[in-house]
Symmetry: C2
Subunit: 230 residues, 2 copies
């Protein structure tokens, strides 16, 4: 197991990743493992093998082991992975072992749904500012949060130490909202508008494109295809 990681084995710290490029798919699967481990912990399992995890999430054992091996060596041969500890380790890798302050731009349909969504908060993503440009909404109270003018975004970001911004405005306004967030120093943006936003280097953008998902469904229905497992 003499891996090429030069780092001496004193790890009790946050793992140093970088070096090797981790694929997007691996990171997404980490989220999957994290949720599975939470469930398994609740079901009383103290250890779990790559085989168990794989079967549960429709993956292969080798994939599970390979993914985890990018970040360290967490298992015990002959036994498997310690459920609770692996969950903790993955939480640290994903950064969900801490609280993130989230700002929401756009207090409309989807924005309201997100504010009411408890799971995000439980995972450590706390919406503590909402921005809009509609004067009728600004100043009103939305689930305990007063809606701010988007013009005050930079100031609020600083004041509340906001690290992530969610964009939930109409597509036509999304690039503008994005620019405001970037200008305020935001490095991570989750976008719900169905367009390709431009962000400078160093800013991570993820776009949640529901149209794409439902069009995938109509494609399979139209072409009588076998589904590709998610």
């Amino acid at each position: 197991m003499n891996s090429r990681r030069a780092k001496s084995d004193g790890d009790g710290d946050r793992p140093v990743i970088s070096r090797r490029r981790i694929s997007e798919s691996t990171i997404r699967r980490l989220s999957i493992y994290y949720r599975a481990l939470s469930a398994l912990e609740g079901e009383g399992y103290h250890t779990v093998s790559s085989k168990d995890l794989a079967r549960r999430e429709k993956l292969t054992p080798a994939q599970v082991r390979k993914d985890l091996s990018f970040f360290g060596s967490f298992g015990t041969r002959g036994l498997g992975y310690p459920t609770k500890e692996l969950k903790t380790r993955i939480a640290a890798i994903l950064g969900v072992d801490q609280t993130w302050n989230v700002g929401l731009i756009g207090a409309g349909n989807i924005g309201s749904a997100l504010v009411s969504y408890k799971e995000f908060q439980k995972q450590g993503f706390v919406i503590n500012a909402i921005f809009d440009n509609d004067q009728r909404k600004i100043g009103s109270n939305h689930k305990g949060i007063v809606i701010s003018d988007i013009k005050d975004l930079a100031a609020e970001v600083k004041k509340r130490n906001i690290q992530i911004v969610v964009i939930a405005v109409p597509a036509a306004a999304a690039q503008q909202a994005c620019d405001v967030a970037v200008e305020a120093g935001i490095k991570a943006i989750l976008n719900f508008a169905p367009i390709n936003l431009k962000v400078p280097n160093g800013v991570t953008l993820r776009t949640e494109n529901m149209a794409m998902e439902i069009e995938y469904l109509s494609f399979t229905l139209t072409n009588h295809m076998r589904p590709i497992p998610t």
Copy 2:
């Protein structure tokens, strides 16, 4: 393991789509092209080259051409693709040149947002039934649609010719809702609950997992990584 060769047997599907396996990424990019072409058409472009499309959506020209080539040969050498016609062709491939009847299970936060979402309807995805198991909601009118008891799902699916079901119930109830839909003969499901649903062969399931996206963001923030372009 995949016994579905499905090749070489002359049984022709309706469209000219090659029987080669089209990758999921290609289909997702088709959605991207479709939206880009709609925009380009609005901007008055009569033709568009793979280079233009690629630059606009941060892809490579070769990728665009390769994707399209799986479905036919739509371009003119030396000139590019005819915007309007290519859009029409992609619409037919994706199946967005027709209307799909969509049933929504779960009239909560996210469900309400979806019902209010005009874009889906414009794209031909029309929600014309809503199901819930909360007696206080059943029978009430939600944006012009009367909420039905989930027990009546099979009957409504038949009556309204529903082809796609959207699941927007709490994770704990999602598998049950899914089973009801499958039992009613539904072949395409869009799931918003953050769990891995089990569906039989022949049913396409897509899961919109927002937790995964936001965890990806916290991963990049935590590890000071370069974003991977979406």
